[in-house]
């Protein structure tokens, strides 16, 4: 197989229960905390910078640089907040750490907190993740019992508390400032930036917010060094990445590959290729907010620059594959309803616009759309794009803009045919059940 997988972050299939503290420690776990202590905060931050650890929550911001934004002169407490809201459709990676390897995350939190001089850390886990919340709490409690957390960290005189904070079913709380509002007990409505959370974050104090996978990478960078880590990735984007493949592939799942692995190879080799050997119609490369690629545009390296070069984003590396026979308008309908449902309602263009988009797509499907409505759809999306406090607006607009740009004929056909040309058979990959809308015979 041409595609190389690695198992540094994703340690499944080794016959080990990493949730167990003794198992985790027997494999060298928590040793990086000691090493980090010997190195000292400045050297740890420098190592993370040198390792070019990029944020894995979607935006790809370099973690070490973000850590450097904490004000040096503030006498307020500092906080580390972990974004475990995992809400971007197509993304299912952070759940792995929370459910199967929580100590990796906790070890990363400890190293980061010592480097940032933060004595409290909150792990914000989406509320639906009941098992993940229980498992992460259990691992934290085991750490307190073993002297890894609490008044000191493994004998190091550094007091540290880590807590799990549950979300309550709102995608918007994955946006970092909405998350802070939610952590403070308020509705999850994003804040204006600046001030950035590094200056005024949780409880009015300097706060660093990082994604689960970003922080889970930190112990590896400290243990093996920045050079080792960067060698597993590409220039300015170090390490391997967790990529999730879902939708129309033979073997959906989560894989770990070096950053820079070819997107097409991931789909064909790791995920078993398109369902039933059909042709690939469209691929969303990094979570539902990313612009869509046509099947002939996926021969690209999975890097921030590589996906940008084809007009999309690496995002969360949550790949969604759609084969020929899928109605692209139907696919967009799912996403437009998602964003309309999840808009917090704070900004008018987003509140009104996301609902309008969903209604327009509904009308295309129902056959009640008028000539010119494809342009209306684009106009509404363009009105939202760039006119909102947070990026949920863009997240709702980009799919619309790109689906129309790449599959305009199919949108127009819905108007000309007064409805969905795929009729009752909107998607391959479904179930053929008598009396139920069945699998598409198309393609």
């Amino acid at each position: 197989m041409a595609v190389q997988t690695t198992n540094h972050l994703l340690r499944r299939g080794m016959g080990k229960d990493w949730r167990d503290l003794a198992t985790y420690r027997a494999a060298g776990g928590y040793q990086a905390v000691k090493k980090a202590h010997q190195m000292g905060p400045a050297a740890v931050i420098e190592e993370v910078k040198q390792g070019s650890v990029r944020g894995r929550g979607g935006a790809g911001f370099p973690a070490g640089i973000k850590w450097g934004f904490l004000p040096k002169d503030s006498d307020k407490p500092r906080y580390l907040v972990i974004n475990a809201d995992e809400g971007e459709p197509g993304t299912f990676k952070d759940t792995y750490f929370l459910k199967e390897d929580p100590h990796r995350l906790i070890e990363g939190c400890i190293i980061a907190c010592m480097a940032l001089n933060a004595h409290a850390c909150y792990i914000y886990i989406r509320g639906e993740f009941a098992e993940q919340i229980r498992t992460t709490w259990k691992a934290i409690r085991d750490c307190y019992a073993a002297g890894i957390l609490g008044r000191s960290v493994m004998g190091i005189p550094f007091a540290l508390d880590i807590y799990v904070h549950p979300g309550a079913g709102a995608y918007i709380c994955g946006e970092e400032t909405a998350l802070l509002e939610s952590l403070e007990g308020k509705p999850g409505r994003p804040r204006m930036k600046p001030p950035f959370p590094a200056v005024i974050g949780a409880f009015g104090s300097p706060t660093i917010i990082n994604n689960v996978e970003t922080i889970a990478a930190v112990p590896l960078v400290i243990e093996h060094g920045a050079a080792w880590w960067t060698a597993l990735g590409v220039d300015r984007d170090g390490g391997p990445r967790l990529v999730g493949v879902s939708g129309h592939v033979e073997r959906p799942g989560l894989f770990e590959v070096p950053t820079g692995t070819n997107l097409k190879d991931v789909i064909y080799e790791l995920a078993g290729g398109p369902l039933g050997g059909r042709a690939i119609k469209a691929v969303i490369p990094g979570g539902s907010s990313c612009k869509v690629l046509r099947g002939d545009e996926i021969d690209v390296p999975m890097t921030i620059d590589g996906l940008r070069a084809v007009g999309s984003m690496l995002g969360t590396c949550g790949i969604i594959v759609m084969v020929e026979g899928t109605c692209i308008v139907r696919a967009l309908q799912r996403l437009s309803h998602f964003y309309a449902h999840e808009s917090c309602g704070q900004c008018t263009p987003c509140r009104e616009g996301t609902g309008w988009l969903a209604r327009l797509v509904d009308q295309l499907e129902a056959g009640t759309a008028k000539q010119g409505d494809v342009d209306t759809l684009l106009d509404v999306a363009n009105e939202i794009d760039g006119n909102t406090i947070c990026a949920l607006g863009e997240a709702a607009a980009w799919p619309v803009q790109s689906y129309v740009a790449k599959f305009r004929d199919e949108f127009q056909a819905h108007i000309d045919h007064h409805g969905c040309p795929y009729g009752d058979h909107p998607t391959p990959g479904g179930f053929d059940v008598p009396g139920l809308p069945s699998v598409s015979p198309h393609a």
């Binding site: 509320g127 098992e131 904070h165 007990g185 493949v245 879902s246 996403l335 990959g429």
Partner: protein, 170 residues
């Protein structure tokens, strides 16, 4: 007020308050404790939470109404949540929803007359790699098929309780 937290819940609330520099931050976790205790967040329950946390009732209501998992109305004993977002849709979520509707005789958003089942369409549950997903109460069922869903619902209807585990699929 007639309503009161059990001693265990009250201890848990004290523990939760201790995690934060500000009392208001305890609100969402405490609302979950209250929901576990009283099944849903009636006006009375919200007042109790406001009193316990010494927060204005309006603030508690404002937060409670924002979040979908904080329930302002009763739900059935078995809360059947069918994921309807893209990855699940591509793997047949619509047929699962149709199966559940036919089996339970209710539409999404409704509860059966005997109060045992509530059916709901929900957004991406971050388990897209094992789509389609049906979450029942707080348990994920992965790779669900219409046949496996029927069996699952039958088991629940016959009072065998909540089948455990995340692997409800075939």
């Amino acid at each position: 007020m007639a309503l009161a937290f059990s001693p265990e819940a009250d201890r848990e609330i004290t523990d939760i308050i201790g995690r934060y520099p500000e009392r208001a931050a305890a609100l969402i976790p405490v609302l979950f404790v209250a929901q576990d205790e009283f099944t849903y967040l009636s006006e009375e329950v919200l007042e109790l939470v406001a009193e316990r946390l010494d927060l204005p009732a309006a603030k508690v209501l404002n937060t409670a109404t924002f979040y979908t998992m904080l329930r302002k109305a009763p739900v059935g004993k078995h809360h059947v949540q069918v994921c309807r977002t893209l990855s699940c849709y591509l793997r047949g979520a619509d047929q699962l929803m149709a199966t559940a509707q036919r089996k339970l005789g209710i539409a999404p958003g409704e509860t059966t007359g005997d109060g045992r089942f509530t059916l709901e369409g929900v957004e991406c549950l971050a388990a897209c790699g094992t789509a389609p997903i049906v979450r029942i109460n707080d348990v994920y069922h992965e790779n669900v098929t219409p046949a496996s869903l029927e069996r699952l619902l039958d088991a629940l209807a016959s009072g065998k309780g909540e089948p455990v585990g995340g692997g409800g699929g075939d």
